[in-house]
């Protein structure tokens, strides 16, 4: 496939952390099927760490690879560390993305951050 690194193809063919968390602490969803990409992240938080991250994605090879990579990068990190994950980081870990697929990495990072925001909002409400 044009422009996909081996790492991207690996995360596409063998995505890590696919699924949902029934009693998720935070849920984030970005994109929509009209655009062609939609990602939903479920997270479990213990203390200040992400103990579990699961995702579901409707989208192309890059979309699936990015969500898989984000979930791998985020799992086990502190919330602060996870918030700092940027799309550039994701693309770098994947060893590059074609220019017209960079927006997939944006979506992945955004969905994760939204899940964290969702958790923090819920935590505030107590």
């Amino acid at each position: 496939m044009p422009g996909y690194s081996e790492k991207v193809m690996d995360h596409f063919a063998n995505p890590r952390n696919v699924g949902e968390i029934e009693d998720a602490d935070g849920v984030g969803s970005v994109g929509n099927p009209v655009c062609g990409d939609m990602m939903t992240f479920n997270i479990k938080v213990d203390g200040d760490r992400l103990t579990d991250v699961k995702f579901k994605t409707f989208g192309c090879g890059a979309a699936i690879a990015c969500s898989s990579m984000v979930s791998e990068m985020a799992k086990g990190k502190t919330l602060e560390e996870a918030k700092k994950i940027t799309n550039a980081d994701v693309a770098a870990e994947l060893e590059g993305l074609p220019k017209n697929k960079m927006h997939c990495s944006n979506l992945g990072a955004d969905a994760l951050h939204q899940a964290i925001e969702d958790y923090e909002a819920k935590a505030k409400e107590g």
């Binding site: 596409f12 063919a13 009209v34 062609g36 994605t57 192309c60 090879g61 979309a63 699936i64 017209n100």
Partner: protein, 388 residues
């Protein structure tokens, strides 16, 4: 694993006989057809022979055939050449909403240059209603361009009927983009009632870089490419002799083998459609069920995305295509499926399989072995899918 090619709509393998016919014009017969010396003789004759063969494929005369580098160029030549040359008679063009991008975008360019364009809608099968074309015609309409068949959804348009309507109600020229049909099913310019027609060799086992535009004699058309005297002054540029020769031989073979080729792919197409729609739920055929290109299978698969399907199919040896946003480099959902009323989300799950001479029933069976698990796998990953 099995090596299966289901993308004949994108490119077809060049027939060995065609390759052989082309080789001398890449080797010892390298002369320029316009050269007055003996090196020009062979190439010049070869180009004229090819012209006759292409003409015969579509029921035209040799001097009505103009060689181009592609179907897209032929389409541009038709739309822009007719619009510009007939500007004084009118500046209104009529196209369908599902034309190939080379017609859609050429018409859009004319719009930017001050022309008016009416885009005739289609029904949910992608069919144009001749009545809608009739209603779109005006006194200042100079060109109507409606494709013979759509390459994304396979639907064959009622061009002969449209031709009658255009002739009866207007002075406009009628152009048809026959890139998907010429060489694959019988195409006769008189029967269709068209004054212009585009075709391309890479659709019927000829080489790439080999297109043609039929222009009925006495048609007023402006050249797209100005310059020398090639193609009766209507399309400058040293002729791509090898490609033209290849196009001619491919056209000849297509004419003589047409019925066998159709008889070969039709049952495979129908079998594939039957099995896909019968065995995978939330999967729908796009395009007309019967007014359809003989080797064309196009479906939309709910809850999942086209490129992901293609990648997984490719990993299993199957080459296919899609009209999803991600696969269209423009990152826009298919204008064809949108015009047909498909929900954009569903349009993103499009899968296009086009069959040809190298396919067999075993290929169909292999796809049905490999594809349902791919669909399941992607659906398990999709936030949109809830198992029934």
């Amino acid at each position: 694993m099995r090596d299966v090619y289901f993308d004949y709509g994108a490119a077809t393998p060049v027939r060995p006989g065609v390759v052989e016919a082309m080789l001398p014009y890449l080797k010892e017969q390298f002369g320029n057809p316009l050269s007055l010396h003996r090196y020009g003789d062979g190439p010049r004759q070869a180009v004229e022979d090819a012209r006759e063969k292409v003409a015969q494929l579509i029921g035209a005369r040799g001097n009505e055939i103009y060689f181009t580098a592609s179907g897209s160029e032929a389409n541009n030549m038709a739309v822009k050449g007719v619009a510009l040359m007939n500007e004084k008679k009118g500046k209104h063009l009529v196209v369908s909403a599902v034309e190939h991008l080379s017609v859609i975008n050429a018409a859009q360019t004319m719009e930017k240059m001050g022309f008016e364009v009416t885009r005739v809608p289609v029904d949910k099968y992608g069919l144009v209603d001749p009545g809608d074309v009739e209603n779109a015609l005006r006194d200042d309409t100079t060109l109507v361009s409606i494709m013979h068949a759509n390459s994304e959804v396979g639907t064959i348009q009622p061009i002969a009927e449209i031709g009658r309507v255009v002739k009866a109600k207007s002075k406009a020229y009628l152009h048809t983009d026959a890139v998907a049909t010429a060489g694959n099913l019988p195409v006769d310019v008189k029967e269709l009632g068209v004054g212009l027609l585009s075709l391309a060799g890479n659709q019927f086992y000829g080489p790439k870089g080999a297109g043609a535009l039929y222009v009925k004699r006495a048609t007023r058309i402006m050249p797209l490419i100005d310059g020398g005297v090639q193609e009766a002054g209507r399309r400058a540029g040293t002729e791509n002799v090898p490609a033209i020769v290849g196009l001619g031989v491919a056209a000849e073979l297509a004419a003589s083998e047409m019925e066998q080729r159709r008889a070969h792919v039709l049952p495979l197409r129908d079998r594939l459609i039957e099995r896909l729609t019968g065995e995978i739920d939330h999967l729908y055929l796009t395009g007309h069920a019967t007014k359809r290109l003989p080797g064309h299978v196009s479906v939309v698969v709910e809850y999942i995305e086209g490129e992901a399907m293609l990648l997984l199919l490719n990993m299993q040896g199957i080459a296919a295509s899609s009209g999803s946003t991600c696969t269209s480099r423009a990152l826009k959902a298919s204008h064809v499926l949108t015009a047909m009323g498909f929900d954009p989300g569903l349009a993103n799950g499009s899968l296009l399989l086009t069959l040809g001479s190298g396919n067999s029933a075993e290929d169909v069976d292999y796809l049905m072995e490999v594809f349902p698990p791919i669909v399941d796998r992607l659906r398990q990953m999709s936030p949109l899918y809830k198992a029934d």
